[in-house]
């Protein structure tokens, strides 16, 4: 296949960006989207041009490193698929594809398609954990957890932190990312002790960096792990309850 790619090139965070057009003419359907970019980069280097910078690592859809807007959609045309798992058999010979970095003010461009997503880590630091020191855990089977609860917690925990939800959101909100973590821990008995402080602290930090959620649901459509926006409702409920809980705690 012959594929034309229009790629956003930007040499640094404050440099102006522009689209450049490249042609990959030995593309096979078995190639992943990133392998097509690898091929373009090999040719750029042999022509003496600077290769396109993009993040990727595991290339099996789980590390969350990769991600780019492909024809205006986060991670491209397939649902529930990270860019590295998008294969070229889903494109046609002669296609022109527009490739851009995640678009969100919370994710400044570092270079070309590479953006800074460290604000997601700030949200986890605010309380996205169960406070348990190593070595102080009771036997694992001491607290039974019904299978449907564990499964549901897992559905939330499957988030890979790629940032597609933020990039797809017209408001640049990080509700789906934050909610997936809040819901995962809040559904489990282990997470109950810190349930309300977790929701309050994580949401407060989230709002320092990201836009507001106005229920577009674009995040769910873009999520490579198909995480449900139902978890956002769960987070909002806990956040609201937290206002009372925290006040009560302060009064004591």
């Amino acid at each position: 296949m012959r594929i034309t790619v229009r790629v956003w090139r930007q040499t640094g965070p404050s440099a102006p960006g522009r689209f450049e057009t490249y042609v990959a003419d030995r593309v096979s359907g078995e190639m992943s989207f990133l392998e097509m970019l690898d091929q373009i980069n090999e040719e750029l280097i042999s022509d003496g041009d600077e290769p396109i910078a993009f993040d990727s690592d595991c290339r099996e859809g789980i590390c969350g490193s990769c991600g780019m807007m492909i024809n205006g959609r986060a991670h491209g045309p397939l649902t529930a698929t990270a860019t590295c798992q998008l294969h070229m058999r889903h494109f046609r010979d002669g296609d022109e594809i527009v490739v851009e970095p995640w678009r969100a003010s919370a994710f400044p461009v570092i270079k070309d398609l590479v953006v800074n997503r460290s604000s997601l880590d700030r949200i986890i630091e605010a309380g996205g954990y169960v406070s348990v020191n190593t070595g102080s855990a009771p036997d694992a089977n001491l607290i039974p957890i019904p299978k449907d609860v564990a499964d549901r917690a897992f559905d939330a925990a499957a988030c890979i932190g790629c940032g597609a939800c933020v990039a797809a959101c017209p408001n640049g909100a990080a509700q789906l990312f934050t909610a997936s973590k809040v819901a995962h821990l809040d559904m489990l008995p282990q997470g109950q002790a810190e349930r309300y402080s977790r929701a309050a602290d994580m949401v407060d930090v989230m709002e320092q960096y990201f836009g507001s959620c106005t229920n577009f649901a674009e995040c769910e459509a873009a999520c490579p792990k198909a995480i449900s926006i139902d978890f956002i409702a769960m987070m909002n409920r806990d956040y609201l309850k937290a206002q009372f809980h925290i006040r009560r705690k302060r009064q004591v």
Binding site: C58, I62, C63, A137, N141, A153
Partner: protein, 646 residues
Amino acid sequence: MSQPGASGDVLDGRIPRGPLHDKWDNHRFDIKLVNPANKRRFTIIVVGTGLAGASAAATLGELGYNVEAFTYHDSPRRAHSIAAQGGINAAKNYRSDGDSIWRLFYDTVKGGDYRSREANVYRLAQLSLEIIDQAVAQGVPFAREYGGLLDTRSFGGAQVSRTFYARGQTGQQLLLGCYQAMLRQVDAGTVRLHTRHEMLDVVVVDGRAVGVVVRDLLTGEITSHSAHAIVLATGGYSNSFFLSTNAVNSNATAIWRAHKKGALFANPCFTQIHPTCIPQSEEFQSKLTLMSESLRNDGRIWVPADPGDDRPPNQVPADERDYYLERMYPAFGNLVPRDVASRAAKRMIDQERGVGPLNNGVYLDFGDAIGRLGRDTIADRYGNLFQMYERITGDDPYQVPMRIYPAPHYTMGGLWVDYNLSTTVPGLYAIGEANFSDHGANRLGASALMQGLADGYFIIPTTIGDYLAPLLGEAPVPTDHPEFERSERAIRDQIDRFIALKGTRSAAWFHRELGRIVWEHCGMMRSRPGLEKGVAEIRGLRDEFRNDLRVLPQTSETLNQALERAGRVADFFELAELMCIDALHRDESAGGHFREEYQTENGEPQRRDDDFSYVAAWAFNRVGEWDLLKEDLTFEYVELKTRTYE
């Protein structure tokens, strides 16, 4: 221990006193402690934040140490531990199927083909219980039975069901657990996290490791960091094969540069070939994707009985299929250990019975299991793996069997460490896949996650105190010490050299070519002539690399992924040669190291225990010149037997 001397020296693993089951307890009593109030007076550098590194950083931080953690990722949550699918072993015996610490210990020593250290393996089996407890307390959503208790499944090399799992994303969930524990310490101020920083050298002063030199991948700035001790948790080196199941950025630079600063490199030829990967489909492929070994619980592996049979799988009648693992190894069947399953698949393909468009796979067939258990049960167990397979190949594994082929996956070799996980450079520790430690010549399924977490959560936080306690009151060596400056200069020189070369070929091109050589000559089967040829070819290509590399952009003061890669490939070139040299010297077959000259009449590997029951640890002189040191392996508790799974 002191710096080892010339060739022929015997290494001391510093195994604690007492019977096997008391060694860890005795050791914890014997080693020196650091008083809780004094822990904050020590700084520890942790390099790498995967399972081993993040769990170590979190626990050291909880204990009160000052931790500086470095990762080249933009977030620690991206470490390649995240891609481990299948599960993690623990000798909980929740199923009452005869499991015990002793059995897990025994299976691991046997699975490793009797080339691991008994005391370490026993400790690993002991700690496996606490790992599961710790992970569950953190909220890791392991699979559950309907009654709410933890579910388990079986893995290769074991006849009990001891593998705990979280769908097909066990590594991800365990990593998120320790990532969160570490970020909790970041918030508490005990751990300082440096993302997008790559470690490029270990600094040694007066024989002790005193710091590291790192490069900021975004600005190119090179900085020195000093500490009382350094823990390397930087993973394995399977990417020396180029095509492997490792993440594309996984590399050997940290351990290799530590090796060049005096740390011995042990058993480099022990690389594990995983039997269930999706076969290569085209030339530009950048990596191989593993399908979890857990699939072998329900999938049956077969090839057509007749060579050259290229009918679609569903048209091959049952009596014209060869379920070769069930035929050859009736007791373990499709669950034989990884090295055994891998070699059997290679033999089938060498006999021209390979399947798929390139005839480079064997079938992993769920037809019977779907018929027996129903599609829903199979979807519940393996749904996300099936989906991943479908994404990559375009085939629906509910309808047609998967195709699989072996691929380089995990490296059992690594920096030599003693029982404390200390390398031969005092103050420098290696944990997780970065050390050679517990796996022997082969790794059983679901034991890598176990080792990473045992090292990080439980072992290093204890043993590092033994080194630190006598250093109380000593300040770290200042970073303006000439040794730091020398390291920084050497790194700058290498970068400048890469940029100034202005050759014609990219680092990626050299990496792919190197990988072909290593796979062909030091892959699933090795022979003396092949390995000798491999060494010669590696040297030849390395000379070209030194003269013909092209790095673009030609500056180091920006994000420059081609430059990062050049440094890593340069190290792979040197390591690959040592892998071949180690494989050449080991005149036996053991686990993942199969020398064609040493096999039984049935083609099973032939160990030579009288001559090779040792760890081969290599001391670096210069590239192409290493001294061999040996650590004798003594087996007091398990009898060395021919490994059989029939």
